[in-house]
């Protein structure tokens, strides 16, 4: 199968996935107890106000009617207005999602930078002291609750040492990177632990592969064998996991964003669920789903590029 056919197939597979998500999101938010008006107006609102606002929002109509309206909206690219903030959901997504994307991207880069060299050391020094130390350290990283790690990093590197700002997002691109460093590290910890483990065993699996022996039999330099023959093949299996994890990271940035006061989409999502801001929850879920799908697609492409057998 050619690369284009492969891509076309992957894109087509997206359609049922998105339809499924559309339905689930719609049903789920409407199953949530409490209506947007009460959520927004809080304890003090009078019943009449609540009814009036629900009517204004069209929430008094039947569910099928609402669903049809919703689907129509989605297909015209209009995701409606936020109930609490009144502004278009598309604008909110445009403002907040890139922040989460940047955070996730940084976390992914950091995770890779931490995991790859250490996986090598651990795999090549298998069952020795280095291996145990690296695996132990990553295990601790993996077992710590994200919010706790975040607070510790903030306290030590932010408040005490003052190397990094204590949360926030900053102004300007470089400042963003600076502000997002600690949260990205926090987010990267568990990912890098998972990647390290996976890559380590992938490398162990590859080191004794016949083609590595063949490469050695060719009299190639150790570095060339390491990078061209071992790493590249070991990365193939890790890459799929990496793609999956990026998806999880994107959806799971909620807590990191809360702790570090990063105005990303994760926080917005949770706030919107609590605030029963249906349009925001729906819009954001769809945007995240598309984004995650695109990530999967990118890793698939990368995988196809690394491993020519995939497109077969």
């Amino acid at each position: 199968m050619s690369m284009t056919a492969f891509l076309g197939r992957r894109l087509l597979q997206l359609v049922p996935t998105l339809i499924f998500i559309l339905i689930v999101v719609f049903v789920l938010v409407r199953l949530l107890p409490g209506d947007p008006a009460s959520a927004v107006l809080g304890d003090r609102a009078l019943d009449a106000d609540v009814e009036r606002i629900n009517r204004e929002l069209g929430l008094d109509r039947s569910l099928p009617v609402q669903f049809v309206a919703f689907v129509k909206q989605v297909f015209t690219g209009n995701l409606g207005n936020s109930i609490s903030m009144k502004i278009p959901v598309t604008q909110l997504i445009a403002d907040r999602l890139p922040i989460t994307m940047l955070l996730t991207f940084m976390a992914a880069v950091i995770a890779v930078v931490m995991a790859v060299p250490l996986a090598f050391v651990a795999a090549l020094r298998r069952d020795r002291l280095e291996d145990s130390a690296i695996r132990g350290a990553f295990q601790v990283g993996l077992s710590m609750p994200v919010f706790y790690v975040g607070l510790i990093l903030l306290t030590v590197f932010g408040a005490k040492l003052r190397w990094f700002p204590v949360g926030g997002y900053g102004d300007g691109f470089l400042d963003h990177l600076y502000h997002l460093f600690l949260p990205a590290v926090t987010l990267a910890l568990s990912l890098s632990a998972i990647l390290m483990r996976n890559l380590r065993s992938a490398i162990i699996g590859v080191v004794d592969a016949e083609y590595v022996t063949f490469a050695r039999a060719k009299g190639l330099r150790a570095n060339l064998i390491l990078f061209r023959h071992i790493l590249r093949n070991a990365l193939i299996s890790t890459l799929a996991l990496f793609g999956l994890s990026i998806g999880t990271l994107l959806g799971g940035a909620v807590i990191t964003e809360t702790v570090f006061a990063v105005p990303g989409a994760g926080r917005l999502m949770v706030d919107s669920i609590y605030g029963r801001d249906y349009p925001v929850v729906q819009g954001l879920t769809i945007a995240l789903a598309v984004l995650v799908s695109v990530t999967f697609l990118l890793t698939d492409i990368l995988q196809a590029w690394l491993d020519p057998r995939v497109t077969k």
């Binding site: 998500i21 077992s143 609750p145 919010f147 607070l151 999502m269 995650v292």
Partner: protein, 276 residues
């Protein structure tokens, strides 16, 4: 223990032995917390608020004057429960679905593929939060929420493995013997396909505890006054500067237990790899 079994034990991977030791100890503590805890984990002592570790309270007391050690010990019961129950249903259901999907293949597999895509594309934590919001907070609902998503991962693993196994000759041998599909899937293929899922299960149990603590942080996990490590850490985060012991000790417990599960998983994987 006989000499035989000692030598057999020695042949097991170190990771497995350590992991199993940690977890067996954890299960014992979880089963008989009162035998180990010096105080009632719920008893408040308004005089001894935020007392630092001392002989009377080795791990100090929290903002209600409750003994942190006793709470960490009693939390074993809940956290080991979380580890088990949050993953048991996904494990069983996912395994059954995965086995069927992997065996039947074809259209069933395509449909399953789309369901998997949808579930993994959906932001996991968001889904869990939404489901817990629908059902109300609490452990049971948390299990349900995790289960709705979690089974997919097991099903994926099992389906892939069953697909591999069904190409092996012993599956065909079963068919040539005239065995029913159910017998071939569940008696023959599944026992051979299940090991990666079991290894993943170990990791998943550790992750479940962490997820439980994250939900605890958001107030959606274990409900007070029950002691649960994640909730304890979340409660203690306001006291990190003044009363570090409230959050640090349950933190240790999480790390230790997580370590136990991971080591066991690694060891198990090693044993099973070795057998091949």
């Amino acid at each position: 223990m006989t000499v035989m079994s000692v030598s057999r034990l020695r042949r097991l991977p170190r990771a497995f032995v350590f992991g199993a030791a940690i977890l067996i100890a954890s299960v014992i503590v979880a089963t008989f917390p009162s035998a180990f805890a010096p105080y009632d984990p719920l008893a408040m002592d308004y005089v001894n608020l935020l007392a630092p570790p001392s002989a009377a309270h080795p791990f100090g007391t929290d903002n209600f004057g409750r003994d942190v050690l006793s709470r960490v010990i009693h939390a074993y019961t809940i956290d080991m429960q979380i580890a088990l129950f949050a993953t048991l249903f996904p494990f069983i259901f996912g395994t059954i679905v995965g086995a069927i999907v992997g065996y039947v293949g074809g259209v069933t597999e395509s449909i399953f593929g789309r369901v998997v895509d949808a579930v993994i594309t959906f932001p996991f934590l968001v889904l869990v939060i939404a489901i817990v919001s629908v059902l109300g907070p609490g452990l049971i609902n948390m299990y349900i929420a995790i289960g709705v998503v979690g089974w997919v991962f097991y099903a994926r693993i099992i389906a892939a493995e069953v697909k591999v196994q069904k190409r092996l000759d012993y599956a065909d041998a079963g068919r040539a013997m005239g065995y029913t599909h159910a017998r071939i899937v569940f008696r023959h293929l599944l026992p051979n396909a299940i090991t990666p899922a079991v290894v993943y299960w170990m990791t998943d149990m550790a992750l479940a505890i962490l997820l439980g603590s994250s939900l605890g942080y958001l107030g959606l996990g274990a409900q007070p006054p029950a002691a649960e490590w994640g909730v304890q850490i979340a409660d203690g985060k306001n006291f990190m500067a003044t009363a570090w012991w409230i959050s640090v000790f349950p933190g240790f417990a999480i790390v230790l237990t997580g370590l136990g599960f991971s080591l066991l998983g690694d060891g198990l994987a090693e044993i099973l790899r070795g057998r091949k």
